[in-house]
């Protein structure tokens, strides 16, 4: 209180921002405004506002609102049952029906050209169909299991690839500059190719099916894991490593005894994230024919079976949600 003004000046605490920061903030804002106009953020807000107003009754209709309604009505109710005409089933055995299934007779109307009169005629037929009440659901679940397997093996392959990659692309463990540059390059390359694109090419190489999917997922994730594993190795506490160097342990031994125990929690977290991501990507990757539930999704979408698409989307959502819960629990225990 009674200190001289000069002494107070020396002890001044300024606010943590200054004119330069205000200028930076203005520049960032300008950048956001410019790029925002290019990605039509304004139109998005406009349409979104319209939809919100029509929803509360302030507007007659809105493009977005009617679009969303159309999607909802076509996806729901979701299709759970499977109906197959008996005539299309080979070696149909009436005495040994599948689980829960029964045979129904349904009336069937068909437009047909009569070759004699050259007139379109309506023909009424009855036909027998095999109804499996949860048949389609089971089919989707089987596909989902296949997708989970894709994701799991994509992760296994990613780990197998990324462990040596991480060793060679960690600056302090790579044997020399060349191996470091090479490994870093490989990691970047793997990461730069999206799964969907590499799957497209791998399908050409390995044919339709899960091989292409597993490899596409594995290679991309190997790039991701390699980078993150390596960065953790580089940032690990050096003190235990120095202790190992001091007694002449080689690099592999030092890494294994003094670094890996330190980074294990992060490694588990990354690997769980990759598993989660791979399962989500595995649902998409089937679109280009690389196996899994995506193939089914694409097929149904292309023949306008939106009810079936609805079932698939619900199952994907439930799976991802369950996976989230499980990985959160594993993380809480080990990390």
């Amino acid at each position: 209180m009674s200190g001289s003004p000069a002494a107070l000046k020396e002890w001044e605490l300024r606010p943590p921002y200054n004119a330069r920061m205000v200028i930076y903030a203005a520049l960032v804002l300008a950048l956001l405004v410019y790029t925002g106009s290019r990605v039509e953020i304004g139109r998005m807000l406009h349409l979104g506002g319209e939809a919100a107003m029509s929803a509360v009754g302030l507007r007659e209709e809105s493009q977005v609102g009617s679009g969303l309604t159309k999607i909802a009505t076509s996806l729901f109710p979701i299709v759970i049952a499977e109906r197959t005409p008996v005539s299309r089933i080979e070696n149909f055995d009436r005495n040994h029906l599948p689980w829960l299934a029964h045979v129904e007779t349904e009336a069937h109307t068909e437009q047909r050209l009569n070759p004699d009169t050259l007139q379109m005629e309506e023909r009424h037929e009855t036909r027998e169909v095999l109804v499996e009440p949860v048949g389609y659901l089971m089919h989707v679940l089987r596909k989902m299991l296949e997708t989970l397997e894709l994701g799991l093996w994509g992760t296994v392959i990613a780990i197998l690839f990324s462990v040596p990659l991480a060793f060679f692309s960690a600056r302090n463990y790579s044997p020399n500059r060349a191996t470091y540059a090479l490994a870093r390059g490989a990691v970047s390359l793997f990461r730069s190719v999206p799964e969907l694109i590499s799957a497209l090419f791998l399908v050409l190489a390995f044919g339709f099916g899960p091989i292409a999917g597993v490899l596409a997922l594995g290679i991309h994730a190997a790039g991701f894991l390699g980078k993150f594993y390596a960065e953790d190795i580089e940032n690990a506490d050096d003190k235990p490593q120095e202790a190992m160097r001091a007694i002449g342990a080689n690099k592999v031994k030092t890494l294994w005894t003094a670094v890996i125990p330190q980074v294990i929690p992060q490694y588990i977290a990354y690997t769980l994230y990759i598993l989660d991501r791979n399962v989500r990507m595995a649902t998409v990757i089937g679109i280009v024919g690389a196996g899994g539930i995506g193939q089914e999704l694409k097929g149904r979408y292309d023949i306008y079976n939106y009810g079936h698409v609805g079932t698939i989307l619900v199952i994907i959502f439930l799976t991802v949600f369950a996976l989230d819960q499980i990985s959160a629990r594993v993380r809480a225990r080990y990390v």
Binding site: E242, A243, A246, I247, G248, A249, T257
Partner: protein
């Protein structure tokens, strides 16, 4: 003094510094003209103010810093990049910050001390040979830990217990040279004494040569067979603890020894003085070279006389 024929090679001093100079990349001279000979089984305490080069002296022994000029010999073998691989497993180190893997178990940490002598695949599988596993248990019992601690994470132990684990790890390969770099700087006085007692007992049992840097003069006098004091990279005193009188302390630690001594100890405890370089730079800036030389050359002559006595006396 230096015997070259092979029959008496084992009688070569455990550590021999021959005109050792160490200069860091930034140009700081950390050690200058260090000429010392440490016989087998001696408990040698290294003293000196922060930044005097204590850590550097220790780290020059196992090659964590490399000599600019001069050389270091371990049991008659010169330390070079080629001999480093075989010499390092014969030396062990105890660190101020313990340098343990705190997330790993006590057992894993102690066993890691044997890793240089174990094939890599065994280390990868964490499957150490039976005799090493038995040895780890034996050592842990020796340093006063209980069997219930074996699988416990190091992070759950107290500082004193952690340093006991560090000591157990260091003795895994029966080293001929033990380098203790301020082993008690982060421990309280009672635990410090206990830890040094333990270190001394274990090294006497095995006839291990110990080079131990300390900040506490009283502990140095109590535990050292011999005291080596450094000041600005130069040996300022070398002799028996009895000769390390208060006037020598004044010369080593500066004009106001007690104050600087306490100051540096507090600093060491607060900041965990590992960044020796920065401190060395500070010291040289604060005091011009010439003044430092004048201080260090004087006690040197007196100390040399005592050293020869200490050498002959301590071995017997």
């Amino acid at each position: 003094m230096l015997t070259t024929d092979n029959s008496s090679r084992s009688e070569a001093p455990a550590i021999e510094f021959r005109d050792l100079d160490v200069r860091f990349a930034d140009g700081t001279q950390a050690l200058r003209d260090v000429r010392l000979s440490v016989p087998r089984g001696q408990f040698c305490v290294v003293l000196g103010p922060s930044g005097a080069g204590k850590s550097t002296l220790l780290r020059a022994v196992n090659g964590l810093v490399t000599a600019g000029r001069g050389r270091v010999e371990i049991a008659g073998t010169e330390l070079t990049t080629r001999t480093l691989r075989t010499l390092r497993p014969r030396m062990a180190m105890i660190h101020q910050q313990f340098n343990l893997v705190t997330r790993a178990s006590v057992a894993a940490n102690v066993l890691s001390g044997a890793s240089p002598a174990v094939p890599t695949w065994r280390v990868l599988l964490q499957w150490y040979p039976k005799h090493f596993r038995d040895k780890a248990c034996e050592l842990l019992a020796d340093v006063g830990l209980e069997s219930k601690h074996l699988q416990r994470r190091v992070s759950t132990l107290s500082g004193g217990q952690q340093q006991r684990v560090g000591i157990a790890r260091a003795f895994m390969l029966d080293p001929i040279v033990m380098l203790a770099d301020e082993p008690v700087a982060s421990l309280d006085p009672r635990i410090s004494r206990e830890t040094l007692e333990l270190l001394k007992r274990e090294s006497q049992q095995r006839r291990t040569t110990v080079l131990c840097s300390l900040h506490q003069i009283d502990l140095a006098r109590e535990f050292g067979d011999r005291i080596i004091a450094l000041r600005q990279g130069v040996v300022a005193f070398d002799g028996a603890p009895g000769a390390f009188t208060d006037s020598v302390v004044d010369r080593v630690y500066g004009t106001d020894a007690t104050r600087t001594g306490r100051l540096t100890r507090v600093q060491a405890e607060n900041a965990g003085v590992t960044a020796t370089r920065a401190v060395v730079a500070d010291a040289t800036m604060a005091e011009p070279r010439k003044a430092a030389d004048a201080v260090t050359t004087e006690p040197r002559k007196a100390a040399d006389a005592v050293t020869t006595e200490a050498r002959t006396g301590a071995v017997a």
